[in-house]
Symmetry: C2
Subunit: 268 residues, 2 copies
Amino acid sequence: MSNSDSRPIGVFDSGIGGLTVLKELALQFPQESFLYLGDTARLPYGSKSPQTIRKYSEQNIHFLEKQNVKAIVIACNTASSQLTEKEFDGLPIYNVIEPGSQRALELSQTGKIGVLGTRATVNSQAYTKKIHELNAKAEVFDQACPLFVPLAEEGWDSDPVTNLIVFRYLSPLLQNHIDTLILGCTHYPILKNSIARVTGSSIELVDSGEAIARWLERDFKEGRLKPNTESTPRRIDIMTTDYSSHFTEVAHRILKPVKADDFRIVDL
Amino acid sequence: MSNSDSRPIGVFDSGIGGLTVLKELALQFPQESFLYLGDTARLPYGSKSPQTIRKYSEQNIHFLEKQNVKAIVIACNTASSQLTEKEFDGLPIYNVIEPGSQRALELSQTGKIGVLGTRATVNSQAYTKKIHELNAKAEVFDQACPLFVPLAEEGWDSDPVTNLIVFRYLSPLLQNHIDTLILGCTHYPILKNSIARVTGSSIELVDSGEAIARWLERDFKEGRLKPNTESTPRRIDIMTTDYSSHFTEVAHRILKPVKADDFRIVDL
């Protein structure tokens, strides 16, 4: 039995925000190939019902399964809040909720943790429940930030308007003296500088991509996942369910310095 | 042949923004029943491809046809830019592009017209083409405003942050000395006060709901549409393709003072 597994790791998101996760994983695991699926025809998941989010997520997983991936990363907080299994049809599944929650608990000194997310993620209480499951004493303060995704996509990431909006959303959390803040939507790392300007250095920011990378690292070490040790260069393929020149432009901006080998449109 | 037609007028939008159009029509035509379809499961259409927008719009029309409507108003600028027929299966269809374009040309003294819209509406150049078709000498200046929809849905309609963002988006249009501005997305009338604060009283604002109401009024007079003259009270029914308590809350806020008789979820 070979110790190498050259099959790609599948990553899916409702759109292109999950590319922040792909970028982090691609940088951390330069030998691994990745297959990214952005369900841009049906985005955003954040405003949809739990049933619809679950149905779409299963369709995305089945699609990636057929492409012969070795594991699947759900790089979408909204989808992660509805699909929490660690395996699906025998494939290892990584969602963003548990790694992010665990990382926040590791970093927090006071146990006062803030969570920023879409309305659906906040309504699902997925982070709050998971954090309390891991540590019943932790206090969680959450905030839905519906303006962050369009701000990130506009490219206004270092802009006075963005600073004002970040301040507006973060004020209630700062008043609750959080010392750790989960960026609970994959778009939000794009606004990390604006967020850090408001939180200052005394609040630790938890980024989904970094948290998941730690879990993959552990599973490579423990043998749940086999690394790709072949000498041929790895591939990064990006698939979306709908075309938009704007997506392609934003995608390149998010991925930098990582380069994708191919962008293509697929039907699920 | 009776002169009364009590069948409702169908109105559809990708979400709840079109309720600004429904509200205007419900106030202008207090005898008429309305059946509103918000395709909230698949919103927003603004970021989708022309093919997908066309397909979804046809599905919405077929659905409303089966509910026995007497006419259909496409209260969605993005859908209107892809489905421009005046009749579909024999049903009169009203889209927002032509009434809005015509109204802007009536109001403009200088022929310099601004258009605000989603990225898809602006990319489609639907207003620019229509305005030029009606008056080749007009000058059109457009601007995509991706932050307006979440701002409207947040309820931040009279807020310093909104004023700043409105100013940011409108500056290039003001520098081009427009004297008329089309609010080319059904959500935008919710931000009308903030927009008017930036444009001042010398720029006329064109609202889709008002522009379509004029067309319906004309067609009732000319006999293309028959009014409902029955004495039973009219009904206003709101259907969405997905449930969200947030939608219901925003819907009530937009519709005020109009009251819906029923809110329900439907499968297309």
